[in-house]
């Protein structure tokens, strides 16, 4: 069941290039600046130290909204979905620019699909959304990511809070091999230092596994290693693990690319049941999947040796039935990529 789409206006999808103002963009945060961004030298500069994920330099503001996710006790009440807003995101690996001032709005509770050929920066964009990008030593970025209006790259914000609020599921299912299914599901609590009673953990395990539509398959072997599951089950275990820390946004990077059609179907059902509770952003190479699960869709493209950009984004139905850009039309109809 999809969200009712916006009333039909003349243009349901957006071609960002039309709207791109000349050089109006957020300040570069990176040490390295591209030529076209070097004119904005006066903005604040923050160089990431990838060796310091604690982000020790930042002070912690107890009044910040993210504080809600930082209580040292786990709370039964799941946090509501939050809107995510990427504004003028540019990204570099060393000197190579791979994303050029990409802006995208992901409203609370909706499912957004990112599509586009390989190497056009979808994963990079996704990893910027929960501050995983800066783990690569040579990586830098510019722009703003607003979670409920708060910039997650603000020096006042804790990197760990941002990552807990914005969960991530990876292409390759990666349950922790030394933990059982039960422990894997609630690993986030232990890792983030959250206290929870055994009853609360029990609740969280069943709740998260149910949300990931895995409960019935594994309830008889909760204490067996998570690595003993099939590929599709492992991926759903990873989804359950992400859900257990009650994220407000869930990012998924090609979660089904290694799965068979049946497991893919189950993951899609999971996404369906999470709609409204969590904001979901999913990268997929499967056009039918994008069409089935997403409310809005963004088409990324990187022409030869240029950074990736969003060519067109908007309502999924419109993107697939009636795209305005010829390249989008070709891509969604399988004519290239």
């Amino acid at each position: 069941m999809k969200m009712p789409s916006e009333p039909h206006t003349v243009a349901m999808t957006t071609l960002p290039d039309e709207a791109a103002g000349a050089g109006v963009h957020a300040g570069a945060r990176a040490g390295q600046q591209s030529p076209e961004q070097s004119g904005t030298a006066s903005q604040q500069l923050a160089v990431f130290d990838p060796a310091d994920p604690f982000d020790a330099g930042s002070t912690f503001d107890p009044e910040a909204t993210f504080d809600a996710g930082l209580e040292k006790r786990f709370s039964l009440a799941a946090q509501p979905a939050a809107g995510l807003e990427a504004e003028n995101i540019s990204a570099w690996f060393g000197e190579r620019k791979v994303l050029d001032r990409v802006s995208l709005s992901m409203p609370a509770g909706t499912v957004t699909a990112l599509i586009g050929p390989s190497g056009c920066g979808k994963s990079t964009f996704l990893r910027i959304l929960n501050r995983m990008h800066e783990m690569v030593p040579s990586a830098s970025l510019a722009g703003e990511v607003l979670l409920d209006g708060q910039d997650i790259y603000d020096p006042q914000q804790r990197i760990t809070a941002a990552r807990r609020n914005i969960g991530m599921v990876f292409q390759k299912a990666n349950p922790f091999p030394a933990m059982s299914i039960y422990e894997n599901t609630v690993a986030g609590l232990k890792l983030a230092g959250l206290k929870a009673s055994r009853a609360e953990k029990d609740f969280l395990v069943e709740d998260s596994l149910r949300k990931a539509s895995l409960w019935d398959e594994v309830k008889d072997r909760l204490h067996q290693p998570g690595g003993g599951l099939s590929g599709g089950q492992r991926q759903r275990l990873c989804i359950a693990r992400s859900l257990a820390v009650s994220p407000r946004v869930l990012l998924m990077d090609e979660p089904c690319s290694a799965l068979d059609p049946t497991s893919t179907r189950r993951v899609e059902e999971t996404i369906e049941s999470l709609r409204g509770e969590v904001t979901i952003v999913i990268v997929t190479h499967n056009m039918q999947q994008a069409a089935r699960v997403s409310d809005t869709c963004a088409f990324f493209l990187a022409a030869q040796n240029t950074p990736g950009v969003i060519v067109e984004h908007g309502d999924t139905n419109a993107m697939f039935s009636d795209p305005r850009d010829q390249r989008t039309n070709d891509y969604v109809n399988g004519r290239f990529g």
């Binding site: 809600a68 983030a192 820390v245």
Partner: protein, 459 residues
């Protein structure tokens, strides 16, 4: 016209004029024969015959050349036979097979012989040690007494090496207490922090593995015994062993830590964990068995060291349980001391001591394996049964807790809903949906933090 469109316009109704283009094999398939014949896989009979023939021929040739005509001394029998075995085997294979197969067979034989040589040498060493020491090993007092009052002419029913066992265990225990934390933290530092300083440390550690053991002994002798204690003692010996064990521990831990897939670390960090909780809860448990192997390697290396303890532990035949004062001889040193004696009983005791040392290493090895466990995620059948039983036992508890807390949460949600019911429906355009699986109304909780935090306290 694209490919997709082309496919779409093909007629889909079956056309009876053309013969069937697909087949349905299930329609005419008989029941499976209960004793369906199976193909026997494995090496051809002929290959094992060739192997046996070549071995026999080579042995005969060796015997002929050594015992038969006597052109080669008997000691060379094995070397000569092995050489002839290679020749004969290759020739026999070459009679029937093409060149690649011959090359393959030749290399296989070489590799297998290397394995056999290693195992054989080891077996010889162990066998020789036990054989020479069997007289002393047969007496129970050998394990329960020290050498107090045992003269050169005393029989084997007098004296023993309990003092050396105590010395070895205490010294290796002290050395491990220092090596394991220091080695682990250094390895974690090398992997998690990195940078220029870490590269320097890594180089130093690598250089330290090549440190001659007598140098470690001399170092402790000069720095501890000459300067501080002024007498040899067990603690100085364990310090000397630590110097040798540390680089081995660091190196092996470093190698296994480097093998931890980066995506596990990423998964941990993506859950909002700090770097050190990822190391503690994810990285270290994942490589626990590899780290245990590192500890075993270091222990095996340290426990048999003779040169450093020669200078630091001192010689004594008397039991000394205090490692901090007075000489305390460990097993390898006791063995060295005993076999140098001209008296046959003492030599027998020396070999028995060496054999006993082998047993001690074996026991420590087994203990470390038990503690270290198997590779993460691998389980034996027994463990699997235990886990299954535990899962079955806990399931009712989990389901009960789930039901109870779900009710509680729904009550809380309803309670929180009533006061701000008017503006609670759609605060920021997020969808209101009902979760099909859990039956929880997923009404977004009002953003106002006050109602959010009081949620748990409400009845």
């Amino acid at each position: 016209m694209s490919l997709i469109d082309e496919i779409a316009v093909r007629p889909s109704a079956p056309d009876s004029s053309v013969p069937n283009r697909t087949h349905l094999p299930l329609l005419d398939k008989a029941e499976a024969d209960p004793d369906e014949g199976r193909i026997r896989l494995g090496a051809a009979r002929q290959r094992s015959l060739v192997l046996a023939g070549a071995a026999l021929g080579a042995l005969a040739m060796g015997l002929l050349l050594t015992v038969g005509i006597g052109v080669i001394p008997l000691g060379w029998l094995f070397a000569v036979s092995f050489f002839w075995f290679l020749v004969l085997y290759t020739a026999l294979v070459a009679l029937r097979e093409p060149l690649p197969v011959v090359r393959d067979g030749f290399v296989t034989v070489l590799l297998c012989s290397a394995g056999v040589a290693v195992v054989g040498t080891l077996a010889l060493v162990v066998f020789f040690t036990f054989a020479r020491g069997q007289d002393a090993l047969g007496h129970i007092n050998f394990f329960t007494r020290d050498m107090t009052g045992t003269g050169p002419l005393s029989g084997l029913d007098d004296g023993g090496i309990l003092h050396a066992l105590v010395g070895t265990l205490e010294q290796i225990a002290i050395a491990l207490v220092m090596t394991i934390p220091l080695g682990l933290t250094t390895a974690v530092f090398l992997n998690e922090v990195g940078g220029k300083f870490a590269r320097i440390v890594r180089t130093v550690v690598e250089a330290m593995t090549a440190l001659p053991s007598v140098v470690a002994g001399l170092f402790i002798y000069a720095a501890v015994i000459m300067a501080v204690t002024r007498q040899t003692n067990g603690f100085a010996a364990s310090l000397a062993i630590t110097v040798l064990m540390l680089p081995i521990m660091i190196r092996s831990a470093d190698v296994v830590l480097r093998l931890v897939p980066g995506n596990l670390r990423e998964a941990g960090l993506a859950l909002g964990a700090g770097q050190w909780s990822v190391v503690w809860y994810v990285v270290l448990p994942t490589v626990r068995s590899g780290l245990a192997t590192g500890v075993i390697l270091a222990t095996a290396h340290g426990i048999g060291e003779t040169a450093p303890v020669l200078l630091t532990s001192g010689f004594t035949g008397v039991m000394n349980v205090n490692p901090f004062s007075g000489p305390q001889t460990p097993l390898p040193l006791a063995a060295l001391d005993l076999v140098r004696s001209p008296v046959p009983q003492m030599v027998s005791r020396g070999f028995a001591t060496a054999a006993f040392l082998l047993l001690v290493v074996l026991v420590l090895f087994i203990i470390a394996r038990l503690i270290g466990g198997q590779e993460a995620g691998k389980t034996t059948d027994g463990q699997l049964r235990l886990m299954a039983a535990q899962s079955r036992r806990d399931l009712p508890r989990i389901e009960e807790n789930y039901r109870r807390l779900l009710e509680q949460r729904n009550r809380d949600l309803d309670a929180a809903d009533i006061p701000d019911g008017a503006d609670a429906d759609i605060p920021d355009g997020s969808a209101v949906s009902r979760n099909a699986t859990t039956n929880v109304t997923a009404v977004p909780i009002p953003q106002d933090r006050a109602s959010n935090t009081t949620m748990q306290e409400k009845p």
